[in-house]
């Protein structure tokens, strides 16, 4: 099977439309950035870069957001944000809540906000009236000690070891199979080694709290600023490194064009981030760098072909050669981009909440990165060549010499 064979499109003739499209995409995204930062006095940064407190809680049922809000207000945290997010396995139910706090001012200890949030949650939803400890927050060693003390299986030899293993299986069933929240002790009856005696012993000793803390992050202001600076410079140096390598392998204008195109991709992706209300975290930086690598890859494939064709077609203009190179590699471009797009789309749909922002950046990035190779990078080389007529010869000469 073959697709896109023998295509003959005048890509460079459409360059002005590409530029217009890019400007439009940039304008839409960055208007949204402007709105977020200047109009709403908000920020695009996630907790890693902004600092603050974030507590990610899973509830047994639909989270009582109003109750949480009331509790937080009474605890003196009126500026907290509460956001419901979809269950990663069951999109229709929204059992997870993210509670956020701005950076604490003054001399409070770093985790003061987190402690207050936990206190509110425990006071409002933690234990039932029986006062028994919560099975959903018990740790493996404590559970093992309790099981050994009760000895509901009447084990003689190695009781400690065997209860220790049973406790590990119980906590891991709770954490991996039930995402940290067990709603009824019967859910545990299929765990290896669990008998009705164990279940009734657990039910006698423990209550089932309505929530579990899945993740808590606190980033101090100094760290936020540090991470910001570091991510910025890491990206800058990475781009610089690529520029130097491409300039060395091709011509400096090719390196510059590739870097400008990649920069364009990053700007557009950031704009879309703002437009779809995603936050920039450390993982998103990894995604942006992935798309930088990907877009660069795409651009180099085309430039490589241009370099090769410059040797073969000495009579033709650079514009024709670039058009031809893009057409020749079009099949590969569409296949690779299509498959990569499919991969990141699967990741976006199936990858869960933690990878959501990352895969969103990739979904946007793959499309923009592919487009910028022929829409931005190639026209820059052609334009530069037009304004510096005759330079093509040196490009040809040098690359030919190097390949030979």
């Amino acid at each position: 099977m073959e697709l896109f064979h023998g295509v003959n499109v005048d890509w460079m003739g459409k360059a002005k439309y590409f530029v217009a499209l890019s400007l439009l995409l940039l304008a839409v995204g960055w208007l949204s950035v402007y709105r977020t930062i200047v109009v709403k006095h908000s920020t695009l940064y996630g907790i890693d870069f902004r600092g603050g407190t974030l507590v990610y809680v899973r509830f047994a049922g639909k989270p009582p957001i109003d109750q949480i809000r009331k509790g937080l207000q009474q605890a003196g945290l009126p500026n907290s944000t509460i956001q419901g997010i979809s269950d990663t396995r069951n999109i229709s139910s929204q059992n997870d809540v993210v509670i956020g706090l701005e950076q604490a001012q003054g001399n409070e200890s770093l985790d003061a906000g987190k402690q207050k949030i936990l206190d509110v949650l425990h006071a409002t939803f933690g234990t039932d009236s029986s006062g028994k400890p919560d099975f959903n927050s018990v740790t493996q060693p404590t559970l093992a000690a309790d099981l050994t003390r009760k000895d509901s299986l009447l084990l003689g030899t190695n009781a400690g070891d065997r209860y220790n293993q049973l406790a590990s299986r119980l906590t891991s069933a709770r954490d991996t199979d039930h995402s940290g929240v067990v709603t009824s002790f019967d859910e545990l009856k299929n765990v290896e080694g669990v008998t009705p005696a164990v279940i009734s012993s657990l039910a006698g000793d423990y209550s089932l709290g309505n929530f579990a803390v899945r993740d808590a992050e606190i980033v101090g202001p100094k760290v936020g600023a540090q991470l910001r600076r570091q991510a910025f410079f890491a990206t800058l140096y990475a781009l610089g490194g690529m520029l130097v390598y491409i300039a060395f392998r091709f011509e400096w204008v090719y390196g510059a064009a590739a870097v400008i195109a990649v920069f364009h991709d990053v700007l557009i992706t950031l704009g879309f981030f703002s437009l779809f209300h995603y936050e920039i975290s450390l993982t998103v930086i990894a995604a942006l760098l992935t798309l930088v690598g990907y877009s660069m890859n795409d651009t180099i494939v085309i430039f490589d072909r241009v370099r090769e064709n410059l040797r073969l077609m000495r009579r033709e203009s650079l514009t024709d050669i670039v058009n031809k190179s893009i057409n020749q590699t079009l099949s590969r471009t569409i296949l690779t981009s299509g498959l990569t797009f499919l991969t990141v789309l699967v990741l976006y749909v199936m990858g869960g909440e933690v990878l959501r922002a990352f895969s969103f950046a990739m979904v946007v990035g793959v499309v923009v990165g592919t487009y910028s190779s022929f829409g931005i990078a190639a026209p820059i080389v052609v334009l530069w060549n037009k304004y510096n007529g005759g330079q093509a010869a040196t490009v040809r000469g040098r690359s030919a010499a190097r390949i030979a």
């Binding site: 803390v213 980033v219 660069m296 990878l355």
Partner: protein, 542 residues
């Protein structure tokens, strides 16, 4: 099959076997599926974001260690000047690294200069601006740097000892590398870091000091009793003695203590938590002194007992207990103060592990619960496997037999990547999984580049063998260029990035190197094998 091709396949097979062995064959050769899973779990180290646990970044308040050195120098200088009969109006610490000495006797300025240059070699002396006989001493930058380094090393060692004593599994304690005063502590499996944090943060500076006077209800009162000037060599320290002054809440009394302790935490031989015989239900920490310290302590307590002197147990600038010395004490003592069993055990642990040279502040605290990590692994792996399958089906559908070739190369690519992670003990994080996905993408691209090139050559009328030859040769340059560019950027990310970004860079670099091997060397070998068995003019399935 010709001979060079045989060697190629032998090499590929060897690589494959070494990789598979590295992933699932260690530590014990598996005989069941459960053992395979067990080995895999042991060999692939997961990052905190996948395994769950606590991640803490703390900052050492290095100025404190430097300021302390400055205070010591001020004390020392005062003594030395006194001993040498050199008069000075004022000797004052300006900030952490500067000492101002004013109104030095004009006829003794030579002696003063000699003293500083001979005995205070850590300091640089210069005449103070706007002062007739004043001098400004500045701590030399090399000394400051050494002090900082020493304090960081000591803090790291102390925290390591304390955490090891807590008995947590596989903790990481290291410098962060992003700033010279930060330490990273990672505690896998610790869902609530509160206990560990307080053990790490405890100062642990124990002193046994002679009580000069007190207690007083306030600092002002203590000063007023001495006409506004403290006796030489003494200082005011708050205490939390419950009943010393009636009507005062605990912790609200003040003692006047000697500056110089008789015994410090470094003199301890052991420290243990025991239940209190005096206060049922409470715990205390009993300690024993080293022989050298006991030799000082015995005569001191004997002399004090004769005159009814008192001694205070001071922990981190806080008086825990002040009592009249009844008789000679040789080498043991205790700290009481209403401890619970846990807090007494933690204090004993901290005393055994040694004191921190400076206090610390937490900058970052992340706790990933085990359930979130488990979800992330499942979803990450499911998404990777899902997309791999989709991509493979497409490759076989689009390139037919050659597509099978690509699938073999992709799978081998992944196996090598995972094996490298196992052999190198690298840590797999969530961004690392992203790196794996990008590797798959680049692997697909390499194969597509080669296959499209071969198709082009076939279209131009070449027979399969030379078409494959040219296809690989032409695509080779492109593949090298794209891979080297990405590796260059990944190296910069590794050098200048932090945690998650680094994990991404590592998997990416390994994945790309494996990718060049599989999509060029392995894929080529399979093509050659296929070509050697088919007719020169026959159609290539691509």
């Amino acid at each position: 099959m010709n001979s060079p091709l045989k060697w190629k396949f032998a090499f590929i097979l060897a690589v494959l076997l070494v990789c598979i062995f590295g992933v699932i064959g260690v530590p014990t050769l598996p005989t069941s599926w459960a053992q395979v899973k067990d080995n895999l779990a042991k060999r692939i180290q997961l990052g905190l974001d996948l395994k769950g646990g606590s991640h803490l970044v703390l900052q050492v308040q290095l100025e404190e260690a430097i300021g302390q050195r400055c205070d010591e120098a001020v004390d020392d200088l005062t003594k030395q000047l006194h001993a040498k009969n050199i008069g000075a109006g004022e000797i004052r610490r300006v900030d952490d690294t500067h000492i101002m000495v004013r109104d030095v006797d004009s006829n003794a300025s030579g002696g003063f200069g000699d003293l500083v240059s001979n005995q205070f070699t850590e300091w640089a002396m210069a005449p103070a601006a706007g002062e007739a006989n004043g001098y400004l001493l500045t701590m030399k930058p090399s000394v400051v740097a050494d002090l900082r380094q020493a304090a960081m090393n000591q803090t790291l060692e102390t925290i390591t000892r304390r955490i090891n004593a807590l008995g947590l599994t596989e903790p990481t304690i290291a410098f962060t590398g992003r700033s010279d005063d930060e330490i990273l502590v990672q505690l896998p499996g610790v869902g609530d870091p509160t206990g560990a944090k307080s053990v790490i943060q405890a100062g642990g500076q124990l002193q046994l000091v002679r009580v000069a006077d007190g207690p007083y209800p306030s600092e002002a009162e203590a000063l007023a009793q001495h006409g506004g000037v403290l006796p030489a060599g003494t200082t005011i320290v708050p205490g939390k003695n419950e009943s010393a002054v009636a009507g005062q809440p605990a912790g609200q009394v003040f003692y006047i203590l000697d500056r110089a302790p008789i015994v410090t935490g470094q003199d301890l031989r052991s420290a243990d938590a025991n239940s209190s015989t005096e206060y049922p239900g409470q715990y205390e920490v009993d300690f024993k002194l080293s022989t050298a310290a006991a030799a000082r302590f015995g005569p001191f307590t004997e002399a004090q007992a004769a005159i009814g002197g008192r001694m205070a147990v001071v922990l981190d600038r806080q008086v825990y207990e002040a009592a009249t010395i009844q008789s000679r004490i040789e080498d043991s003592g205790r700290i009481t103060g209403g401890f619970s069993q846990e807090s007494a055990q933690n204090l004993a642990l901290v005393l055994r592990a040694g004191a921190l040279p400076a206090s610390i502040k937490y900058l970052e605290e992340r706790t990933v619960g085990p359930s979130l990590g488990a979800d992330s692994i499942r979803e990450g792996v499911r998404a990777s496997v899902g997309s791999m399958i989709v991509v493979m089906i497409f490759l076989v559908f689009y390139y037919r037999l050659s597509g099978v070739n690509a699938v073999v190369a992709l799978v081998l690519n992944l196996v090598i990547l995972v094996a490298f992670l196992a052999y190198a003990g690298a840590v797999l994080t969530l961004p690392g999984i992203a790196g794996v996905i990008l590797t798959i993408g680049m692997g697909v691209d390499s194969n597509v580049l080669v296959f499209e090139r071969i198709r082009e050559e076939l279209r131009s009328g070449k027979v399969p063998a030379p078409a494959v030859d040219t296809g690989f040769d032409r695509a080779f340059l492109t593949i090298i260029d794209t891979h080297v560019t990405t590796v260059v950027s990944a190296i910069f990310l590794f050098l200048f990035g932090t945690g998650p970004v680094r994990g991404f860079a590592v998997t990416l670099v390994i994945g790309l190197i494996a990718n060049v091997f599989t999509s060029i060397y392995v894929s080529r070998a399979i093509f050659d094998f296929h070509l050697s068995r088919m007719d020169r003019q026959a159609q290539l399935s691509i």
